[in-house]
Amino acid sequence: MQANQMNDLYIAAKPSSPEIDFRFQDRLLSITGEAYPENAAVFWGEIIGTVRRFLSLDDSRRPITVNVALSYFNSSSTKMLFSLFDALNEKAAQGTAVILNWYHDEDDDTIYEFGQELCEDFTSLSFNDHATQS
């Protein structure tokens, strides 16, 4: 299979898991909502697997944009998210621009600080912090 044959991934938001809207053809990946699924390893594992598959097939070198607007994620999701951004960072390090737009409430220090952790560790990502007014 080629990257341009991969189906988009869409998972609707549920009370404890976020909306996943991955449009691989448009190279636009969005995550929105709250994340505290019962089993974070299972929920995020499949998503990360799909992204990794896309990234390994993709040789277009065109930029990928990732929009993340999570208002809450539990500790096990935190670890998995780190792993997701690690995969994206690897891709960026290989020469494909990966832009990460990190959205959070302007007074939400926790989400802001996690974004800073990502920024510090994953230096190949183009990181943009977006503080939104509540």
């Binding site: 009370p15 404890s16 505290y36 699924p37 019962e38 089993n39 974070a40 390893a41 299972v42 809450y72 539990n74 500790s75 096990s76 935190t78 670890k79 780190f82 409430d105 007074d107 939400d108 220090d109 926790t110 952790e117 560790d121 509540s134």
Partner: protein, 196 residues
């Protein structure tokens, strides 16, 4: 703390004993005791959100309370005994556990209390982690949180190490805990209290 000499026929009586010892003069703004499933947690979380907002907690406090609530109740699901697994469950599906959680407030502080039975081996692991946490300063906790975040996932694939660090990080005081032996069993009632 709770007198370990108190005996009880079932876990339920112990939950009520803990609750009534604390409720006293304090303002209890939420109490739930029963089986915990992911669906119940999500529904209770919603109720907790509304209640916290209603009593006028600052938004930062609301966030910390919600976060600690989720961490503590999901630990009930993952680490408790007396599991009830439905026939149609998948590998980890429909985990259901018994425990209690309540939120009280006193002089502008919020106390989050949680209790659930755990196997004595699990109790020993938890005790070690919690005693270690009590030796750390706020900065130490932040540092360990960052290290734990980047560490390879250990045998604890559901993330309880990071979970306790998350609660400790948001608390305004060291976490308080107790383990009460449950007679005629290999279990202990694990009690955890976080102050925000």
């Amino acid at each position: 703390m709770i007198s370990p000499v108190l005996s009880s026929e079932t876990n339920r009586s112990l939950h009520w004993l803990i609750f009534s010892q604390w409720a006293g003069k304090r303002d209890v703004i939420f109490y739930y005791e029963g089986y915990f499933s992911q669906t119940i947690i999500a529904a209770v979380a919603d109720a907790v959100k509304m209640r916290i907002e209603h009593v006028g907690a600052a938004s930062k406090t609301q966030r910390k309370l919600f976060s600690s609530f989720i961490e503590m109740t999901q630990n009930i699901i993952h680490y408790s005994v007396d599991a009830y697994t439905r026939d149609d469950s998948a590998v980890f599906g429909n985990e259901v556990r018994h425990g209690s959680v309540y939120i009280s407030t006193e002089q502008g502080r919020y106390h989050l209390h949680c209790a659930n039975p755990v196997h004595v081996d699990v109790a020993a692991q938890l005790r070690a982690k919690l005693e270690h946490l009590r030796t750390l300063t706020g900065d130490d906790i932040k540092r360990e949180y960052k290290q734990c975040l980047r560490a390879d996932t250990d045998e604890d694939s559901k993330g309880a190490g990071l979970g306790l660090l998350t609660v400790a990080r948001d608390a305004s005081e060291p976490l308080e805990f107790d383990f009460i032996a449950i007679p005629n069993s290999d279990n202990a009632l694990f009690y955890l209290k976080a102050t925000i």
